[in-house]
Symmetry: C2
Subunit: 478 residues, 2 copies
C-alpha cells in the first residue's frame, strides 16, 4: 500500500462522512414517532447521535479497555478459588469504585479449589525411539498420579467408536484421544464444540474400559508445543483416572512414534489435586437507572481464568469491556433510565457457580433483568451481534446503520453464556457481541493467552459498540 | 470460554448446516432461469455448490496461501530494482510453473532503483537534555545527507497552515511534522490517507520556506520505536532536502524535549541515494479460459515491498492469495470459461510502473480485462467486497448467502488499487476483498511486517472467498 486512498469505500468509513449520511435519515425517522407501531422498531432519537459520537471518540482516543485488561492480567492466572482470583476481586472492585460508578459491591460465591501442583511431566519411553519429552498439562478437575507417576502403553483413538472397538486392548493402558479440531469448519467455536467432548468426557469413557489415564490432543488449529488445558468431568459410574492435554505438536509426534513402536510407553506425573472449597465473590458495579432502577441491563465477563497464562482473551477481555462500557456511558454524561450493571462473574471455567449464585441471590428479588450480555469470545474485532429474542434483534436494527462503520454488519438470534444462562429462566434476553474468532483458539486456555495477543483498538471497538447498544436498551427497554 | 457452545449462532456457521440451508434455495433459483431478467442477478448454479465446498475444504485444510507467503518473505525486503526483487520474480515464476498453471511468463518493467545505504542515524543534542538517540529511517525517494550528516534546530508543526505561519523561523532548520493518525477515525485507511500527505509532500513544502530537512511522524496508531517508511515525492519547483520518518515514540519524545529546550538540535545522517534505473518484471500466471480465453479476470498483488521487513502484509499476502486462488480453482478441477490470471506487479511502492507497463503492453491488444482485483490491504480476516461497478455488486449478491459464513457480509461499490488503476480506462471493473484493518498500520512499512503478523487461516479465507468470486465471474462474465 503506497499512500492516500480514495474511492467510496474509504470515504464511507470516515467518521465525518458517516454522521453526515445518517443524520438526515435519523431526523426523518425521529420526526414521526406517531407512525410507529409495535411491528416497526423504535427509531434512534437524533439527539443520541452526538452522544454516540462522543462515546466513539472518547473510547478510541483513550483505549482504556486495554488498560483495564492489562491491570487484570497483571495478577497472572486467576484459577477459581486461588489467591490470585481473590486479588482480582479486590482489584476490580477498587477499579470500579475509583471510576465513580453509582454502586460497587461483591456477593459471595462458594467455589471448589483445584490446584495444579508443581510436577507436570510426561515422557515417551521406547526401546526403538529412546526417551522423548512430551509437552502436556493436567486438565482442570483431574486427579494427579502417584508421586512416582504412572507408566503404561498407549492406545490411540479418534472417536468414542474407536475406543469401543479397541476395548480389549484398553485395560491397563493410557488412551490417547488424537482428535483434531476440524479445519474445514469455518467457525472455530463450532469446530471446538465438536472436539471438546473428548476433553470433557474422555477420561470416564476410557476408565469404563479399564484405562489408567488419558491424553487429550489440545483444542486448537495451530500445531505447536503449547498444551491447552480446560475442564474435564468425572462420571460417578466410572473409576477416576488422571487426564492430561498434550500439545498438538506433541500429539502429532506421539502419533508417528506409535507407528514406529506400538509398544512404546508413556510415563506421566502430575500432582494436581482438589483442596477444600473456599468462598470467593462476584464483583458488581452499576450506573443506577434514573427512572426504572430495578430494571437491569447487565454486561458481564468472568474474572476467573485458567492458570497457564493471565487469561487475556479468556476472559480479562470480557471484564475489561464491561467496565469500559459503564465508564464510557458515565464519562459521556449519559444518565440511563434503567440500571446498567457490570458483573465480573467468578468460577465460569470450573463450575459456573458464580452465575448461579448471582441469579439465585435474594437481592435479585426486587430486580428485573431485561437483557443480560456476556462477553466471553475473546477481545478481537467486532463482527456482529446476537440476542436470544427475535423481537430484540428487530428493535436493535435501527442501530445497524450506525454500527456498520464500527464493524457490525448483522444482528442474529442466538447468544448466551455459562454465567448468564440462569437469568434466562427469570425472563432475561441473553446475548452479546460476536468478535472475529479465527485467532481465538490459538491462545485459548494455553500459555499464549497474554495481553500482547489482544489488540487495543479491536478491544475498544467492542466497548464502544456495546456502550451504544446497552445505553439504547437502557433507554428503550425491551 | 468453558466448553461446548450451543445456540443458533454456532449452528448457522457449521459447514454442514450451511449447505443444508442454502441448497434448497439455490435449487429453487436454479430451476427457473427463464424468470430471470436483466435487473435480477444471475442465480448461483446448484452444481457449483459442491465445488465451492471443495475449494473451502482444500484451502482450510492445507493453508497453502501462508506457505506461499513464507516463501516470498523468505527473500527479505524486496525494494523495487533490488536483487531481492529480482529473486522474487524468479521465485514466483517458478512457483506458478511448478503448480502447473496453463501459462506462466514475465513481462519487463523499467524501474528506478533507490538504495537506503548503511548509515541511518539521528541524535538530539541539547545543552539541557544531553544527547538522545532518535529512531528514524529515510523515506523512500529521499536523497541522503552529506557523509558527516547535518545538524540543525527543529520547528514542530501539526499542519501545512502551522508551517506557513512559522515561515520566518523555518529557514536553516529541520521541520518536524508531528501529525498523528486521527484515532477517532474508525477505518485506519481513512486516517492514514489524511496523515500521509505530510509524508508525501512535506519535504518540498518545507523546502520552499528554506528548511534543511524534514522529520515526519510515522503513520501508525501504535506508539513504539519502529519508524515506518514510505514514499515521498519532490516537487521540481522546490529545493530537494532529506526526508526521514521518526517513530511515534520518538515523535512523542521529541515533542516533549522541544518543550524543555526549544533550541535543541537534531543531527541526522542518511546515505540513501538513487542509482541507475534497471529492468525488472511483472510475473504472470494463468488458467486459460476454455470458451473465451481473451476475456480476463485478473487477481494481483505487488511483489516489491519496502526494505525494513520482508513485507508480509504489504504485499506478500496479496501475491500469495492470488497464486492460491488459481491453485484452488485448478486443484478442484474447475475449468473456467474465461481466463483467470494472477499478476505479481513490480514497483507498486515507488512508481506504479509495473501496473502501467502491464496495461500498455502490446500483448494486451487482443485481450479484454473484464474485472481486475488487487489485494493490497493486508492478510487479515475478510469482511467485505468492493467493486467499482454497481451492476457487478448486484451480480455478486447471490454469492452473499454463500460467503456470509466465511466472513463476507457486504458488497459495496468502491475498490481499486495503484497497479490495476490503468486497466479502468480499458473498461475493466476494479475491486477486491476488504479485510479487517485495525492491525494493518501497526506493521505497514516497518520492521514489524513479518510473516508472524499474518494469520494462516485468515489469509486462506481470503483466497477461498476470492476463488469462489473469481470463478463465478469467469463463468458468468460481467
Amino acid at each position: 500500500m503506497k499512500r492516500t486512498l480514495t474511492g467510496k469505500a474509504e470515504k464511507s468509513l470516515n467518521s465525518f462522512y458517516w454522521l453526515a449520511c445518517i443524520l438526515p435519515l435519523l431526523w426523518l425517522s425521529g420526526c414521526k414517532p406517531q407512525a410507529q407501531d409495535r411491528s416497526s422498531p423504535p427509531a434512534l432519537r437524533p439527539e443520541l447521535l452526538p452522544k454516540f459520537e462522543a462515546i466513539k471518540d472518547l473510547g478510541l482516543r483513550q483505549e482504556k479497555a486495554y488498560e483495564f485488561l492489562k491491570l487484570i492480567t497483571s495478577i497472572g492466572g486467576r484459577l477459581t478459588g486461588s489467591p490470585e482470583a481473590d486479588r482480582a476481586v479486590e482489584l476490580t472492585a477498587s477499579l470500579m469504585t475509583e471510576l465513580g460508578f453509582d454502586r460497587v459491591w461483591t456477593e459471595p460465591v462458594k467455589v471448589q479449589r483445584w490446584v495444579r501442583g508443581q510436577a507436570e511431566e510426561a515422557m515417551v519411553r521406547s526401546s526403538k525411539l529412546g526417551t522423548q519429552a512430551l509437552s502436556i498439562c493436567a486438565l482442570g478437575n483431574s486427579l494427579g498420579t502417584s508421586a512416582d507417576g504412572l507408566e503404561a502403553g498407549v492406545v490411540e483413538v479418534r472417536s468414542f467408536e474407536d475406543l469401543a472397538a479397541l476395548k480389549d486392548v484398553v485395560p491397563g493402558r493410557i488412551v490417547f484421544y488424537n482428535v483434531p479440531m476440524d479445519r474445514t469448519v469455518v467457525e472455530p467455536f463450532a469446530a471446538y464444540g465438536r472436539a471438546a467432548q473428548f476433553r470433557v468426557r474422555g477420561a470416564s469413557e476410557a476408565a469404563r474400559y479399564g484405562a489408567r489415564a488419558v491424553l487429550i490432543r489440545s483444542m486448537t488449529f495451530r500445531v505447536d508445543q503449547n498444551p491447552h488445558t480446560g475442564l474435564m468431568e468425572y462420571d460417578d459410574r466410572a473409576p477416576r483416572i488422571p487426564a492430561a492435554a498434550v500439545s498438538t505438536a506433541g500429539a502429532e509426534l506421539l502419533h508417528h512414534w506409535l507407528r514406529t513402536d506400538p509398544e512404546l510407553k508413556v510415563w506421566l506425573r502430575m500432582n494436581c489435586r482438589q483442596e477444600e472449597p473456599v468462598t470467593s465473590a462476584n464483583v458488581i458495579g452499576q450506573l443506577t437507572g434514573s427512572e426504572f432502577p430495578d430494571e437491569i441491563i447487565l454486561i458481564g465477563g468472568h474474572l476467573d481464568s485458567w492458570d497457564l497464562s493471565p487469561g487475556a482473551h479468556d476472559d480479562a477481555a470480557g471484564c475489561a469491556v464491561a467496565i469500559e462500557v459503564l465508564r464510557l456511558i458515565k464519562e459521556t454524561g449519559l444518565k440511563p433510565k434503567r440500571t446498567i450493571r457490570a458483573v465480573m462473574f467468578m468460577d465460569e471455567e470450573f463450575g459456573g457457580t458464580g452465575g448461579r449464585a448471582y441469579a439465585a441471590s435474594d437481592s435479585r428479588k426486587q430486580e428485573k433483568h431485561l437483557v443480560a450480555i456476556e462477553q466471553d469470545r475473546g477481545g478481537a474485532a467486532p463482527v456482529g451481534l446476537a440476542f436470544s429474542l427475535e423481537i430484540l434483534t428487530d428493535r436493535l436494527k435501527p442501530l445497524l446503520a450506525y454500527l456498520g462503520p464500527l464493524g457490525i454488519n448483522w444482528i442474529r438470534t442466538g447468544g448466551g453464556g455459562v454465567d448468564i444462562g440462569p437469568l434466562r429462566e427469570k425472563g432475561a434476553t441473553l446475548g452479546g457481541l460476536i468478535p472475529e474468532s479465527q485467532r481465538y483458539f490459538d491462545y485459548h486456555h494455553s500459555a499464549l493467552d497474554v495481553p500482547e495477543a489482544v489488540h487495543p483498538r479491536e478491544l475498544e471497538l467492542q466497548a464502544v459498540i456495546l456502550a451504544m447498544v446497552i445505553y439504547f436498551l437502557a433507554e428503550q427497554g425491551v
